[in-house]
């Protein structure tokens, strides 16, 4: 499934009021051989990822990589500063003192992992301040669920097929939306 990556201009969508109907509807349209382009919901619906074949994100890998970078950076900088850059005697303690470095290493790890992951997240989710989003129906952030199918370049009979499949799946409304 494209998951909104290929942005089409015209969509047909079905609206549902309850998450269980919504999940059943996905199964129903998939049984008709259709592929859902976008599924909208006001909150995360559990079990939808498997139905739509959404792979688990690799955000945590980005987090781990960046966190590890933070750890190594903090360790290297402190070691360099305390042993080579400007070695200073603090109360007769050794210049290289791993226990004293641990708090800063930990904090830097968490900082880099969290900040990095946040940016990867907004990039992957195509979020940006001031971005004009393509929203199929404004009610989907309130109390409705929607299944959308892009219909650019589809024939009338194909569109009719999608519509009837949506009707059959228990959609309360079947609408068309075109984006400028």
């Amino acid at each position: 499934m494209s998951q909104g990556k290929i942005e089409q201009k015209k969509y047909v969508y079905g609206v549902y009021s309850h998450e269980t109907n919504f999940l059943d509807a996905i199964k129903s349209v998939q049984a008709d051989g259709l592929t859902v382009d976008d599924a909208y919901s006001p909150f995360p619906v559990h079990g939808i990822d498997d139905l739509l074949g959404i792979k688990e994100t690799s955000l945590h890998k980005a987090g781990f990589t960046l966190g590890f970078t933070g750890l190594v950076t903090a360790f290297s900088v402190m070691t360099y500063v305390n042993t080579m850059g400007y070695p200073t005697v603090f109360g007769g303690k050794p210049f290289f003192s791993l226990p004293a470095f641990i708090p800063v290493m930990f904090e830097t790890t968490v900082l880099m992992a969290a900040v990095g992951m946040f940016f990867v997240y907004i990039k992957r989710n195509e979020l940006f301040p001031g971005k004009i989003p393509m929203i199929i129906d404004e009610r989907t952030t309130d109390d409705k669920f929607a299944l959308a199918f892009g219909i650019d370049g589809k024939s009338d009979s194909e569109i009719a097929e999608i519509k009837s499949s949506l009707q059959k799946s228990g959609a309360e409304e079947v609408n068309t939306k075109s984006f400028e």
Binding site: P42, I54, N82, L111, A114, E138
Partner: protein, 464 residues
Amino acid sequence: MSKVDSLLREPLINGVDKTYGKITEDIVRNTEGNPPKDWWIAFGFALAGLLLYVIAVSWTIFKGIGVWGLQKTVNWAWDITNFVWWVGIGHAGTLISAVLLLFKQKWRTGINRAAEAMTIFAVICAGQFPLIHMGRIWQGFFIFPYANTRGPLWVNFNSPLLWDVFAISTYFTVSCLFWYSGLMPDFGTIRDKAKTAKRKKLYNLLSFGWRGTAIQWSRFESLSLVLAGLSTPLVLSVHSVVSFDFATSVIPGWHTTIFPPYFVAGAIFSGFAMVQTLMLITRKVQKLEDYITIAHIESMNKVIVLTGSIVGIAYITELFIAWYSGYLYEQYAFYNRAFGDYWWAYWSMMTCNVLSPQLFWFKKFRRSIFVSFIMSIFVNVGMWFERFVIIVTSLHKDFLVSSWNYFTPTWVDMSIFIGSLGLFFTCFLLFTRIFPVIAIAEVKAIFSSISEAAQVKAKKEGSH
């Protein structure tokens, strides 16, 4: 996440007429229209406090920190007390949102948004104190390790004060990101409910263009989970590092290994008390009693009695260890705390933090709004005294009898503290009018599982 809900458990959302649409309406309503009169009155007080803060801080910066009551003997007093107090308060938000998320405590959804906001504002207040205590605030950037033209002369990586810089700034940043990533979908909801173009534009900007597609939600949940995992040790680390400011020194009364866990428990204790104070007011003013229910208040009171008791045990352990150490100076430090010049501060602390929360062993008191409110104020006061007692009583009678001294705050000390409350409440009151104070999407998600459980129950009852 599993969706098993016990039917025996109290519902997390009350009200028979609840639907997804009603949840949106109840929460979004508070961000629309003109604020009520009560809000303006409260905001007026908060602004007056903020003004006082600006005046007192300006005076400090203009004249130098000599305008505080500090002396050679007591060279740390209200500034560090206020700092630790505010940082401690700032612990509840991330604890509620991160730790309780990992423990799958669903009751967190009613209060996590406001608690996280409180955390952020409390950390903002806390961060003020080290800065203004520098005296030369314009050189505040010296605390960051960067290659400079003075040698380069680096910061002291062996110093707990520097660890604090990293701990607090990391905590602040991560809390903000955690909070904001949760806010984006809810801003999207407000945007789609907006009636004017201007409002739509503003909330779209804040929502970063949220759409609510399945893949966005999938990534959203991944991010929340990993951020929660990262924040959990972070919460515990921050106050541990704050306690190192004292524990790594050699001052009797400070030089104890119990400090990190003791400070963390105290921080959670005071943080929950502040959340309790704010939630009791917010639910009433914003008519959110169905979402922040008595069950939520009771849960928070349970955390308060648990952490309050941990703090109590820590106080007693400290006394025991001072006696058992056989070290005269340590013994005197604790004798002096309880029976010296500052006995009143010590016993206020003991009463407010250790004795009074024990009332919450009784269900009746845990579920009483009045008792909860009074107790939350008691704990806030008690925890301020705890920090004051640890800091000032350990310093004011030092090793040389000739330099023994009594600390008295000046008007500037007091104004900065009262003013920081003004700063905090100004931020919080603005938050309650502009932001959704309850995590709309999260509440809907738990509502859906509750309603399923309710359906099962209704079917069972119907078949009898």
